[in-house]
């Protein structure tokens, strides 16, 4: 069973009437990258890119559900074309971040140019690896817009999954050629025939077009390359046209600034060219261009249809936003369609575990966001947690990955509050409209949620979710979706026992339940849920905070109304029974540790709370 959201985010109306609520929302790109690219390629002989005319170029991507073998197939393709040498170590070569390898996910699109001779012609094949997760679907869509075709990888055992469907439609809507590949046929339970039938039924692709491969063992991978050349058309563009380059990814290099990954839709680009960003209107001089193999390899020029990188003195990743178009100074072109600005959809508070760490965390955040412009940062403070920030992420995975990178790359341990989604409020109070200077505001912090008396309408983000499930669960899933206020859009049997469902979900309902408390402000609807959530939080806190010398009341409140309460009884006896000369050494050791712990306790009023209490409580909330 799997769930996938699609880029079709929009604001849905919540209060009284549905309203004209279709302001489309995008999921902007996310640009991490401390993935140090070695400069070893510099010494190599420069490749003359003019020997690869448009007709011999194929730009393609591999799309798949998580863990269906996308990165492994990419490794094999790189090996076959001699891009990387064939060793046992080639595991997810394109996944450079530690988190990517640990989690087996791709969060960062990587590209590689492959040289392949087919029937006497040298081809330049540019593989654009894409992130596999729904959080990054904007990045996927931009990567796809640089391609003319995709390899759709499906696991021969698991069959079509939610992400397969979501990605297929992204490629289909972009009118790309699709090469279906059934991977992992070496597995014991592989059932490629069943998967072929699913593909035929769902995507209308004849069963005989599917290529059965084992990326792990290399079976039939060569055939995939041949299909890429035969089925995927070359890009339709001309070197004689003025320069038009799409930025489909970017990374940050501490020494050279921003490295932008680009696809040329027209013209050519070389060192010394003066270029302009269509989005920022800023002008730059090109310092270096080249191709990715997958490490950077400088070339003299890049020509229409080709994919490579560009360094042009951009200082921040925000200057090379994904989807932006670059053109030559004084030769403006119509920007490529589909560009959207960064819009985080999940917000959470981030606080240092120890307030003395505030400045260290601040500098770590600054450095990490330098690589990841899709994270937004606002200063915030909380009574319980001290000074911190409210961060915006593309999704929950993005948030987790960001947090993990803070820990792994900057050795930072933080308190992350329960994630929330942004809300919009259409204001009715003249006073507030004057205060904000507009009648519609976006709220990213629950503490700033305006009262319903001064609001005519609240809006919340809506997401289209795809669910693929064995049919026996269908009843339970429909009930669950209804409980989550989801609206069914589609229900289809993809084979005898698998069902695909599509629902429009309020994003909040699938992100976290935290907003129950706020909803109850605007309507009585969620009261019961708020009570239950409040009770649960209180119970968790009660288990997490140690007994102290006085009674502690743990209360959950919505505004001023207390909706749940737990009592933590005080210690009435806490003293070791026997203490004579012999055991004092061991005893002192324990007491010193506890004294040391005092330093790390958060004091809220006179209640001492272990530093991880909030984390533990919040984690349990998310685990739910």
């Amino acid at each position: 069973m799997a769930l996938a959201g699609r880029a079709a985010l929009r604001w849905g109306a919540r209060l009284p009437s549905p309203g004209p609520a279709a302001a489309p929302l995008c999921r902007p790109a996310w640009l991490p990258a401390a993935c140090g690219r070695p400069y070893s390629s510099r010494g190599k002989e420069e490749i003359d890119m003019s020997t690869y005319p448009v007709e011999s170029i194929r730009n393609f991507s591999i799309i798949a559900h998580v863990d269906h073998g996308k990165s492994t197939l990419a490794d094999r393709l790189l090996e076959i074309t001699g891009t990387i040498s064939k060793t046992d170590h080639n595991k997810q070569v394109l996944d450079k971040l530690q988190v990517e390898r640990e989690r087996g996910i791709t969060v960062k699109a990587q590209s590689a140019s492959l040289f392949y001779n087919h029937e006497g012609i040298n081809y330049l094949l540019s593989l654009i690896d894409t992130p596999g997760h729904v959080d990054f679907s904007y990045e996927v869509s931009r990567s796809l817009s640089a391609c003319q075709g995709v390899i759709l990888v499906v696991d021969a055992n698991e069959g079509i999954q939610a992400q397969t469907v979501a990605n297929f439609y992204l490629a289909f809507e972009a009118q790309l050629s699709i090469i279906p590949v059934i991977n992992k046929i070496d597995l014991k339970n592989a059932d490629p025939e069943r998967v072929e039938k699913q593909i035929e039924k769902l995507f209308d692709i004849p069963t005989d077009e599917c290529i059965r491969i084992s990326a792990k063992q290399g079976t039939n991978v060569e055939k995939v390359l041949q299909k890429v050349i035969e089925k995927i058309p070359p890009p339709q563009c001309n070197t004689a046209d003025p320069l038009k380059a799409l930025v489909f990814d970017s990374t940050f290099d501490h020494y050279r600034g921003v490295v932008a990954n680009i696809a040329l839709f027209g013209g050519e680009i070389a060192k010394g060219h003066k270029i302009v960003s269509a989005h920022t209107k800023k002008r730059y001089e090109v310092n270096e261009v080249g191709i990715l193999t997958p490490n950077e390899q400088p070339t003299h020029k890049l020509y229409a249809g080709q994919v490579g990188y560009l360094i042009a003195g951009m200082k921040e990743v925000t200057e090379a936003q994904i989807g932006d178009t670059l053109f030559l100074y004084k030769q403006p072109v119509e920007p490529l369609p589909g560009f959207k600005s960064v819009k985080p959809m999940v917000f959470a508070g981030m606080y240092p575990v120890d307030q003395t760490e505030y400045n260290n965390l601040k500098s770590a955040l600054e450095r990490l966001t330098l690589n990841d412009s899709s994270v937004t940062v606002h200063r915030d403070s909380s009574l319980a947690l001290g000074a911190g920030w409210r961060l915006g992420f593309l999704g929950l995975l993005h948030m987790e990955v960001f947090n993990q990178r803070l820990e792994q790359e900057y050795n930072m341990s933080v308190i992350l509050t329960a994630p929330t989604v942004p809300y919009k409020a259409v204001l009715s109070s003249a006073k507030l409209i004057k205060e904000y200077g507009k009648d519609q505001i976006t709220i990213i912090n629950p503490a700033q949620f305006p009262d319903k008396l001064s609001v005519s309408e609240y809006l919340e983000p809506i997401v289209l979710g795809t669910i693929v499930t064995p049919h026996e669960y269908i009843g339970k899933i429909i009930t669950l979706c209804q409980d989550r206020r989801a609206v069914q859009k589609d229900l289809l049997y993809i084979d005898e026992n698998r069902v695909m469902l599509k629902y429009l979900f309020p994003l909040n309902e699938i992100v976290v339940d935290f907003y129950d408390a706020l909803k109850s402000l605007s309507s009585g609807y969620a009261r019961d849920k708020a009570y239950a959530a409040g009770k649960l939080l209180c119970e968790h806190l009660k288990e997490t905070i140690p007994r102290q010398l006085f009674e502690i009341a743990i209360q959950a409140a919505i505004g001023k109304k207390i909706i749940a309460r737990e009592t933590l009884k005080p210690y009435r006896k806490n003293v070791v029974a026997k203490c004579y000369g012999g055991d004092i050494t061991r005893r002192m050791k324990l007491l010193r540790r506890q004294a040391e712990g005092k330093r790390l306790m958060r004091k809220i009023g006179n209640v001492e709370v272990p530093r991880d209490a909030f984390i533990r409580v919040l984690k349990r909330e998310t685990d739910k």
Partner: protein, 464 residues
């Protein structure tokens, strides 16, 4: 080997102190030494510490600059039935011997299984090496199953003048649960015999908070105890030590774990009942009337000097004889066989020595001193911290001040001590107080804790 009648290591209530025999001889004469040595015990609690009390001037160099006369001699004794040796040790000027010894305690395991001759020999050795006043407290731990009137009489003749009897409970079912070998009737008989021989100087140990024990049952035990006891009672809340049979049964759910509130109720009930019967609650777990406090144990809580002899025994003292002026923490080799071997080959069983930093000394004083009703007097604190007095450390705004305002702690002309309510939750107060102490001392630029190296006492080290 187990001492016959010794509490099995698994019953969860074994006392964790090392023994005590004063320092072991360097030059050893006679083959009996090895042969009579206790061969092995499975616990390291078969011996217990023996204290020397500093005569005040010797303790404080400011009053009498280092006394070179501090002497001690010792003997090593095992409680082994029938076997015993005691070797006089020629007092050597280089040995860190005390000037006088104020109390001796034979404890850990079941010293009452030893022959009175062993005890007599040890005491003789002590008296031969240092001044042992005639009235010095000499305590022996005894189990009811090995405390017949005739045995006890033998110990009295050997020089023992105070008895501590491990009654544990006056209920047969509870005793069985605890894995004790004696019955309630035997316990009664032993206490009565002891009271006859050591009137006013017989102490009994009692446990509460046993799995399944009710408030009423505990109240009844207390009443029964008051009818039986002499002038000193030690009341211990049962600690379920990991690895013991009882703890395993509780964890497996075969026996109920006593709820925290019930334990608190039992403790407070005991304090009230014993207080009404004229007992002074002079330490967390110790009650005495008619001034029958244990001099020996008080010396721990007052952070005085003591020498521990025997496997796993701990000691704390200042090595003046070596020209030292720092308080050292010493631990003897815990395994009995190894301990014996080291005593024979090196003349001592000291496994480690560590000089305690000023902060560490104050931490111990605080932790131990607050266990008593008198607390830490200004004078005692001044011994350890001549520069920063109690007021300077705990009188300023901070944790201690807050705890005083909340009614857990008192700092007045008598010193720093717990209130009646504070004593029951001392372990919740200590981390905050220690943290404040560390901070204040750190600010006063005292040398950091754990300063000088802890070394394995080698051949040249003095064995204590």
């Amino acid at each position: 080997m187990h001492w016959p009648g010794d509490a099995p290591p698994g019953n969860g209530v074994a006392r964790d102190e090392g023994m005590a025999v004063p320092h072991t001889p360097r030059a050893r004469s006679g083959p009996t030494a090895a042969s009579a040595a206790p061969t092995a015990t499975s616990t390291r609690t078969w011996c217990r510490r023996w204290t020397r009390r500093p005569c005040a001037p010797a303790w404080c160099g400011r009053h009498r600059p280092c006394s070179a006369s501090a002497r001690c001699t010792g003997a090593c004794a095992g409680w082994a039935q029938g076997g015993c040796w005691a070797l006089p040790c020629p007092p050597a000027a280089s040995h860190p011997l005390p000037h006088s010894v104020t109390s001796v305690f034979f404890g850990g395991g079941t010293p009452s299984l030893a022959s009175p001759g062993t005890v007599a020999a040890v005491l003789e050795a002590v008296a031969g090496a240092a001044h042992l006043p005639a009235g010095a407290e000499v305590t022996l731990e005894a189990n009811p199953s090995s405390a017949s009137a005739s045995v006890l009489d033998g110990f009295r003749a050997a020089g023992v003048n105070r008895l501590s009897i491990g009654v544990q409970s006056l209920d047969d079912a509870e005793l069985r649960m605890l894995g004790r070998e004696h019955t309630a009737a035997e316990a009664r008989k032993a206490v009565e015999a002891a009271r006859g021989l050591f009137p006013g100087r017989t102490s009994i140990d009692l446990l509460f908070g046993l799995p399944g024990q009710s408030r009423d049952a505990w109240a009844q035990r207390l009443e029964a105890t008051l009818r039986l006891c002499d002038d000193h009672i030690s009341l211990y809340q049962l600690t379920l030590e990991r690895g013991t049979a009882l703890a395993a049964q509780v964890r497996a759910g075969a026996l109920p774990a006593p709820p925290q509130d019930l334990l608190a109720d039992m403790y407070h009930t005991a304090r009230n009942v014993l207080g009404a019967a004229g007992f002074r609650h002079y330490e967390v777990s110790n009650f005495a009337r008619k001034g029958a406090l244990s001099t020996h144990n008080l010396s721990y809580w007052r952070a005085e000097q003591y020498i521990g002899v025997g496997p796993g025994a701990h000691g704390r003292f200042v090595l003046r004889a070596e020209g030292g002026c720092s308080r050292e923490a010493r631990v003897q080799t815990p395994e009995p066989v190894a301990w014996m071997r080291e005593v024979q080959s090196q003349g001592h069983g000291t496994r480690s020595r560590a000089v305690l930093s000023p902060l560490e000394q104050l931490e111990e004083l605080l932790t131990l001193g607050l266990r008593t009703d008198e607390g830490i007097t200004h004078e005692r604190w001044g011994h350890f911290s001549p520069q920063l007095n109690l007021q300077a450390v705990f009188g300023e705004p901070g944790e201690a001040r807050a705890l005083q305002q909340e009614g857990w702690l008192v700092l007045d002309s008598g010193g720093l001590r717990c209130t009646w309510a504070g004593l029951a939750v001392l372990d919740s107060l200590l981390p905050a107080l220690l943290w404040q102490l560390q901070r204040v001392l750190g600010a006063a630029r005292c040398p950091p804790r754990g300063a000088p190296a802890e070394e394995r006492a080698g051949g040249g080290a003095r064995g204590l």
